[in-house]
């Protein structure tokens, strides 16, 4: 019980305190421990621990194949891929020592490992990431509904950022945006007044004012700047977005601080199962 409870709590408290308060100590050995050794110990542990994970993976995949569980064919591919990567990394270079030494062979052209990276790993990684393009479209389509004020704000700012961020946003004239705003306000006025005449007059006056303004100014694409999508998009990025991001960062930082202090002080002991 002592080894499973008190010792782990003591180790966490000791190493946590040294790492935390060591930042205030200007002594080379302490600084080296905190800056280099502590994180490298973790990396060494993680590197050995990967053997456990790999063994677990292989065991489960082989079990699936042996017991012919549903989808066992994919497990064959998983095991073969695992073996191929080990062989390419540790046993078969594919080129002489004069072309690439062991270690440098992982990035040297012509080696089996580099071939695997270029023609198997890279395309598959890129394919998985490219799924996001489709999923963003379907998620936006499903989720961006004008249900309430906040959802409307999210929708409008999302559209402004999406269009303003790309070159096509720079081509859309601010006068076009002004016409859209007049039409949008017209729909809003109609929903309140429910009077066709009032709506018509409102829209007509709005469109006329915009048209007169455009004729006088010569229809510059990026003026007035307040309606130019790239300018609005930049403003949203620099001000409301950064303000919100900072607030969330501070909250998350405090959450991390509180959780870490709980671990150092031994209040939170879930890592030993309590």
């Amino acid at each position: 019980m002592f080894w499973k409870r008190q010792v782990p709590i003591f180790i966490v408290a000791l190493i946590g305190s040294i790492t935390l308060f060591g930042w205030f100590i200007d002594q080379p050995d302490v600084k080296e421990f905190i800056g280099d050794d502590a994180t490298q110990w973790f990396d060494v542990l993680a590197s050995f621990a990967i053997i456990l994970g790999a063994l677990n993976l292989i065991k489960l995949q082989i079990q699936k194949v042996l017991y012919q569980k549903p989808g066992w064919q994919y497990s064959v591919i998983a095991v073969l891929g695992f073996i191929f990567a080990i062989v390419a990394g540790f046993f078969v270079k594919g080129v002489d020592d004069s072309v690439a030494q062991w270690g440098a062979h992982v990035t040297s052209d012509g080696t089996l490992f580099k071939w695997m990276f270029d023609y198997v790993f890279s395309p598959m990684s890129a394919t998985m990431f490219s799924l996001l393009a489709f999923f963003v479209a379907s998620a936006s389509y499903r989720a961006f509904r004008i249900r309430n004020f906040e959802a409307t704000l999210l929708l409008v700012s999302g559209i402004i950022i999406m269009v303003g961020r790309v070159p096509i946003g720079g081509v859309i004239s601010s006068w076009f945006i002004m016409y859209l705003i007049v039409l949008g306000l017209g729909i809003y006025v109609n929903s309140i007044k429910k009077d066709t005449k009032v709506t018509f007059v409102f829209v007509a006056v709005g469109v006329s004012l915009v048209t007169i303004g455009g004729i006088i100014s010569g229809w510059p694409v990026d003026q007035p700047g307040i309606f130019y999508l790239p300018s609005i998009q930049e403003w949203i990025y620099y001000y409301p977005n950064v303000a919100g991001a900072r607030a969330i960062m501070i909250g998350i930082g405090l959450g991390i601080f509180a959780t870490s202090i709980r671990y150092i002080l031994g209040i939170e002991r879930s890592y030993i199962g309590e």
Binding site: T107, V136, Y141, P167, M249
Partner: protein
């Protein structure tokens, strides 16, 4: 009117696979048939360009590559454009990687630019130090003593035998840092542990989704500008006057964004019609 409303309602409940097909088409077609939309550089991209342009000739620049093949369309054009800019101005380029995949990306970019375009000499004009595990420990290691961390480069050559490493002991010996980053460890770790404590100016190119996290550092002056995603990469290509894959990708991205906005508008029209009918009945 009812027929039109029914059409909109059908669009509102469309199977997602139709959306996938339409998105695939609007991305592929502009790649095959470019539109050639003009690229307008934003202030943040211009800041990066101006900072690099202002460096005295022969400056020592640390270029850190931390992205994988999955974000290659966004980050690789940034790395390539940055290398072109640096080599054109005859700066010395030192390449490190905080991600294991980054070493492959760095090697590809150097082969294309340093070897293929500028005929630069390895060890005198550029060096690939390679990847070291440890995340922010690597950044801290570079800040304190780079030679302890990198005793050999990516080709297993001793760092002491590389001429351009003679004057380099730690991070403060560099004149500028550029990080092409796709996540952790990356830009934020460089700001927190290297650039801000030492005062060495830094800039970064990040994926579009990371811009939120990084913008507070740009605003506070801890970073000099940022290249935001593929648009940022395309802007940098237009600033250095050499178009690349980012510029050609912007047509596809522009059209895809417009189509997504169209889907959202159609979805909302369908939502309102549905709501109106449920209130009616």
């Amino acid at each position: 009117m009812t027929n039109i409303e029914n059409i909109f309602l059908k669009i509102g409940s469309i199977d997602r696979r139709w959306i996938f097909i339409i998105i695939a088409l609007v991305v592929v077609v502009p790649l095959l048939v470019p539109i050639g939309l003009p690229i307008r550089a934003t202030d943040t991209s211009k800041s990066v360009y101006d900072a690099v342009e202002a460096l005295p000739r022969g400056s020592k620049v640390l270029l850190s590559i931390e992205y994988s093949p999955s974000t290659k369309p966004e980050n690789h054009p940034m790395a390539i454009s940055m290398m072109r800019h640096l080599f054109r101005n005859n700066h010395k380029v030192y390449v490190t990687c905080l991600w294991p995949d980054g070493q492959f990306m760095a090697q590809d970019a150097l082969n294309q630019v340093a070897v293929g375009e500028f005929d630069k000499k390895y060890g005198e004009d550029y060096v690939l130090l390679g990847y070291r595990p440890g995340g922010e420990a690597v950044v801290k290691g570079i800040v304190s003593n780079i030679r302890k961390l990198f005793s050999v480069d990516a080709r297993q050559t001793k760092v002491d035998d590389i001429p351009m490493m003679d004057e380099i002991t730690n991070f403060k010996d560099f004149d500028f840092l550029f990080s092409a980053s796709a996540g952790y460890p990356g830009t934020i770790e460089w700001v927190q542990y290297a650039a801000d404590p030492t005062g060495v100016p830094m800039s970064s190119g990040v994926t579009s989704i990371q811009v939120n996290e990084v913008m507070p550092y740009v605003q506070s002056g801890q970073m000099v500008g940022v290249l935001a995603g593929m648009p940022g990469a395309a802007e940098y290509e237009s600033l250095i006057g050499q178009k690349g894959s980012a510029t050609s990708g912007m047509d596809a991205q522009s059209v895809a964004h417009l189509v997504i906005v169209l889907f959202i508008v159609l979805g909302n029209i369908s939502y309102f019609i549905d709501r109106k009918r449920s209130r009616k009945y």
